[in-house]
């Protein structure tokens, strides 16, 4: 038996898959959130998930997926309603309403966590921030062919199963409703006047965002969830003026960030002679923001460098 291969399959492969899928299912809806100037919704959703998971755990008494998932999803929906309510009743802008809701919900989650002793289990604040990427293990994989065997599939880690399901759903919905998402993001009034209710589509997008945040949160933590809602989309926007191309590119950037970030966290310190590994979720978020910075400078049309060069050229022509 080739031990390093088994190691890779059991430890690194599931982590890589989780990282990539979390990037995809947050990155795709992220495109529309960024264009609607609602990126904070992703931030809000990833924070409010915490009290939902804790309450789900307390009510059910188990660490089973379903009660926690339901708790998280209902917390996300409750806060979406709260944000809308505060926006209208308090007559304040959306960003401020989101800020109020997600900080208080997250704080509430931390309080419940500490008061109830739930923190003794595998729920803790650190986990909420950085996630659990490194401890996602796919036991029972010793060879590539085990991946497709029934026994191998049976042992697929829960977080990976959840992410796989949600990612497929998000991809399907984004493709199916691309036209509707596009018009309601660009011109909500026009969308409504054509019979595509902008409010309905907006609610659908928030629910999809909540679902992605919930599925990704447990595995990769809130920092990476927030980064993945914003970075791949904002990076892709730098490289194209075509929305469908932007969606494809954001998927590519999310995947690249996941793989590069994980490998850098796991192996770069070893190569440098250190005997520790870096936090993978943190590293992936850093890589994603590096992509963003590089694109902001070097992208041909929207990058700073390209714009300056074009201006120079235009001046010379005159």
């Amino acid at each position: 038996m080739d031990l390093p291969l088994a190691d890779f399959l059991q430890i690194d492969l599931p982590a890589l898959l989780v990282a990539v899928l979390a990037g995809l299912c947050c990155g795709l809806p992220g495109n529309f959130l960024v264009l609607r100037r609602q990126s904070l919704i992703g931030d809000a959703m990833s924070h409010v998930v915490l009290p939902g998971i804790v309450v789900g755990y307390l009510l059910s008494g188990t660490l089973d997926t379903l009660p926690m998932l339901l708790g998280a999803l209902s917390a996300a929906l409750i806060s979406a309603l709260l944000i809308e309510g505060i926006k209208r009743l308090g007559k304040i802008e959306a960003g401020a309403a989101m800020g109020v809701v997600f900080t208080s919900m997250f704080a509430l989650g931390v309080l419940i966590l500490e008061q109830t002793g739930a923190s003794g289990v595998h729920l803790d604040v650190e986990h909420a921030l950085y996630g659990n990427l490194e401890s996602t293990l796919w036991l029972g994989l010793n060879d590539w062919k085990d991946l497709l065997s029934p026994t191998g599939l049976e042992q697929m880690p829960n977080s990976l199963q959840r992410l796989l399901g949600v990612s497929l759903l998000v991809i399907l919905l984004t493709v199916a409703f691309f036209k509707e998402l596009k018009i309601s993001t660009f011109d909500p009034e026009m969308a409504s006047s054509l019979g595509f209710s902008a409010r309905l589509i907006s609610i659908g997008l928030v629910v999809m965002t909540a679902l992605s945040a919930v599925a990704a949160f447990d595995a990769v933590g809130s920092i990476l969830v927030i980064a993945m809602f914003i970075c791949p989309a904002a990076t892709a926007r730098m490289w194209t003026d075509n929305l469908s191309r932007q969606l494809w590119l954001s998927a590519v950037f999310a995947t690249l960030s996941g793989i590069t970030g994980y490998l850098a966290a796991a192996f770069a310190p070893l190569l440098l002679g250190a005997d520790f590994a870096l936090n993978a979720a943190g590293m992936i978020a850093v890589v994603a923001s590096v992509f963003q910075c590089v694109s902001m400078i070097f992208a041909p049309d929207h990058g700073k460098l390209g714009r300056v060069l074009k201006q120079r050229q235009a001046l010379k022509m005159e």
């Binding site: 036209k179 596009k182 660009f186 011109d187 009034e189 026009m190 006047s193 019979g195």
Partner: protein, 270 residues
């Protein structure tokens, strides 16, 4: 006496034959933001085939009137029908050109993308945009002289070109009744001509256009009907009857300079 002075349209119930066949019939429409009335007790029947200028001072509720008629903002009271049926059931017959500032021009879309959106209503939920749709959209861009800019990102267009893209998008809707919100604001001469031509074409095709217009001088040249508003309706009807110096002075509360009215005096004398 006052009714005669203001030339108000007599209140007709919307069940009347005239209202049933009218492209747009409005009875007692009121809209308020918070406690402030923005449109008050407006009744109006749009002519079949015609170009209606909606004029009035700033804050007179012109845009609000259009948005309420489209069902985009809630109304306090009133009844609105389009060809005798509710607005919601007649959406496919209504085209809309919003104010240019209402959208984000940095959006990753080309001129052709935006015009194609005018066809989305016909394409329907969940069905993808096909090649034939994009070809049709290109035809509408050509009608407003913008075919050469089809692939240009919309933020890279001039204000007038953006307005023409919006116009082409409205044409793509192939509606019977059009609402336009200040299409002539801040556009170049080429765009102004393009808009005027489109308006004429629409009228020749038997369509009705209801257009918020701020320039009193050009209104009688471009439009054949007027609806004069200052929160309450002041006058409506064919240009020659409604668009008089007297009515305008009333709507603008006597704030119009004589020079602004000079071009209109002959009309008033009729």
């Amino acid at each position: 006496m006052i009714a005669k002075l203001l030339r108000l349209q007599p209140h007709q119930p919307l069940t009347s034959e005239a209202a049933k066949s009218a492209p747009l019939a409005i009875q007692g429409l009121s809209v308020a933001y918070h406690h402030k009335p923005v449109v008050w007790d407006l009744s109006f029947i749009a002519p079949a085939q015609g170009l209606v200028a909606v004029v009035g001072p700033n804050g007179a509720g012109k845009s609000t009137f259009i948005k309420a008629a489209l069902g985009l903002i809630p109304k306090l009271s009133g009844e609105i029908t389009v060809y005798g049926k509710s607005v919601a059931s007649q959406r496919h017959l209504i085209g809309y050109v919003p104010q240019r500032g209402s959208v984000d021009w940095d959006f990753p879309a080309s001129a052709l993308d935006v015009v194609t959106m005018g066809l989305y209503g016909k394409i329907g939920w969940l069905r993808p945009v096909r090649k034939a749709h994009r070809a049709a959209a290109l035809g509408y861009l050509e009608q407003v002289g913008m075919a050469d800019f089809a692939d240009r990102q919309i933020g890279q267009l001039s204000g007038g070109q953006q307005q023409r893209v919006f116009l082409a998008r409205a044409l793509a809707q192939d509606a019977a009744l059009y609402f336009m919100d200040e299409p002539f604001v801040g556009v170049d001469a080429a765009t102004e001509r393009a808009i005027v031509n489109v308006l004429k074409d629409l009228k020749d095709q038997g369509k009705t256009v209801i257009c918020v217009h701020h320039d009193l001088q050009s209104a009688p040249d471009y439009f054949d009907h007027a609806l004069i508003l200052n929160i309450r309706p002041v006058a409506s009807g064919p240009m020659a009857e409604a668009f008089t110096a007297e009515n305008l002075q009333h709507a603008y509360g006597g704030r119009l300079a004589p020079s602004e009215l000079s071009g209109l005096i002959p009309l008033a004398g009729q």
